[in-house]
């Protein structure tokens, strides 16, 4: 059996009296798209935040690539190859699309204690950045401000920034949120292709997207994982149907 790329071990987090993460055990195998679904308020974003390092768990460990990363800062985790996109678009609005990606490329290059050479004359970095923009189809928007492009394009930018970090594991928090039908289906095709490049942990509300993309599914209800398996298994699982799918299809 292959060793998991990411493993959470008895992960717990509560806010006041509300248990947002309840002894979560999760194994993410390399090279696949692993989706986490669950009703609103199930604690999906809280889980992602703990994995990326934005929140500290109350108990439990997170192992990444064989290392215990539980106590590492989010910037250290990013350096190790854990990239994330945010549920709420989080790009640098007053900068151009190109400048946004350049920052991500800088992040992947290691330290940025370089005080003298202007970045806009760094042709190697410009080329790299344009390459990532081309990959998501934003090359023609490179000189626009991030604030000027459409919401869907901002989501694409967000993903191209995550890719520019050359991640081993990509955490995508609702990449399709707020997208139109056409944009969504383009994004689905794009993510399907990404599978060859990197492992993806996907949180998504759009069930069509999840069912067509995910190799493995975990269902999160009230902070705990009630089932993990292939799409087929999960659909057939009576507990899942009762707890989650049942509610929606009723």
């Amino acid at each position: 059996m292959t060793r998991p790329l990411l493993r959470t071990n008895g992960l717990c987090k509560s806010f006041g009296g509300i248990v947002a993460t309840d002894h979560v055990e999760l194994d993410i195998l390399p090279g696949i798209i692993h989706a986490i679904i669950g009703p609103n308020g199930a604690g999906k974003t809280t889980l992602i935040a703990q994995i990326s390092g934005a929140l500290k768990p109350d108990a439990g460990q997170i192992e990444f690539n064989g290392h215990d990363i539980t106590s590492l800062s989010s910037s250290r985790r990013a350096q190790l190859g854990l990239a994330r996109s945010f549920q709420v678009t989080s790009v640098f609005m007053p900068m151009t699309v190109l400048e946004n990606v350049m920052l991500a490329v800088q992040g992947a290059d290691g330290h940025s204690y370089r005080f003298w050479r202007p970045v806009h004359k760094d042709s190697e970095m410009l080329e790299k950045s344009m390459g990532y923009l081309q990959q998501v189809g934003l090359a023609d928007r490179a000189r626009h401000l991030a604030a000027e492009i459409s919401h869907g394009e901002q989501r694409q930018l967000e993903i191209s920034m995550a890719l520019a970090m050359k991640p081993r594991l990509l955490l995508l928090d609702e990449p399709m949120a707020g997208m139109g039908l056409e944009e969504s289906s383009r994004m689905i095709r794009f993510l399907a292709k990404l599978r060859e490049q990197t492992t993806i942990l996907l949180i998504e509300h759009d069930m069509d997207a999840v069912f067509s993309l995910a190799d493995t599914l975990s269902v999160l209800v009230h902070g705990s994982v009630i089932a993990t398996g292939t799409v087929k298994n999960i659909r057939a699982n009576p507990e899942v149907q009762r707890a989650y799918l049942g509610e929606e299809h009723a």
């Binding site: 990326s52 390092g53 990013a78 945010f86 992040g107 202007p118 806009h120 920034m161």
Partner: protein
Amino acid sequence: MTAWFPSSISGRCYCVLLVLLAVAPWIFQWTDQPFLLDLLSRGLILAIAATSLNLIMGYGGMVSLGHAAFIGIGAYCVGIPAYYDLYNGWFHLGLTIVVSAVFALLAGAVSLRTRGVYFIMITLAFSQMVYFAFVSLEEYGGDDGLVIYLRSEFPDFLTMQGPVALYYWIFATLLLTLFLVHRLVRARFGRVIAGAKHNEQRMQSLGFDTYRYRLTCYVISGVTCGLAGMLLGNFTGFISPEMMSWIRSGELIFMVVMGGSGFLFGPLVGTGAFVILEQYLPEFMKFLNPSWLEYWHLPFGLLLVLLVLFGKGGIHGMLSKLDSRTRQSDR
């Protein structure tokens, strides 16, 4: 149009301004106005300090209400050695750099853990600590300050003696500071600082330890401001804790905001406007009505409020508005 000459109105203004500053001592000599050279020297020293503040405030989003502490530190790094008859300028310079850097590192390490109003308050607290530390140093004059009888000496290098020589020291330091900031904000380091200003969480998720980058930026800014203090100590020949009071720090913020926060030449023009107003507004008020003299702060404050309300981007912002207007009329 040759490429070396800037095409924008604001760029041309700054070019002319720098040329004027370069020849100012001659102009004042011809017109026999040594007082104006004094005023200009003081203004340029403050401009160096304001430019250093702009680096953390304008480009990095770190509004410090304690930046004048570095002016005081630099000045005392000249004054205290001079008290012991140590006038070697290289020693003064080295001491200023080391002490400012250490203070920036300590104060920054604590205050950069906070944001916004808390950052303002902690930087204020640190500068007040330094202020009262020097007030309590009776040996070096305490509240009354310290007289520096001789300027820093740079044997076998350039002299600082005489107002014109000192002016060129100041002018050269200003040019260096502007060039440093210009390069810094365009380099990788500066892009990280800018990114952390807009969205720190995002920068961390891109793998940047933003705290360290900000701290480095704070130290660079503090040392630069310390150099302004070293020049100020030499210029006034008299130093006191008053130089680092929080009111001075507040004035530095005014200068940056008036000129245009986050723009290279903003602090320079802002300081110019500030110094000119401070000098001539009282006289203007006296001219209107002799009894109004002491109320010059009132129109001064009003001007500041108006500028902040309507002049987004300060004086630089207005100049660049002219740019976009002429560009539109070109079409």
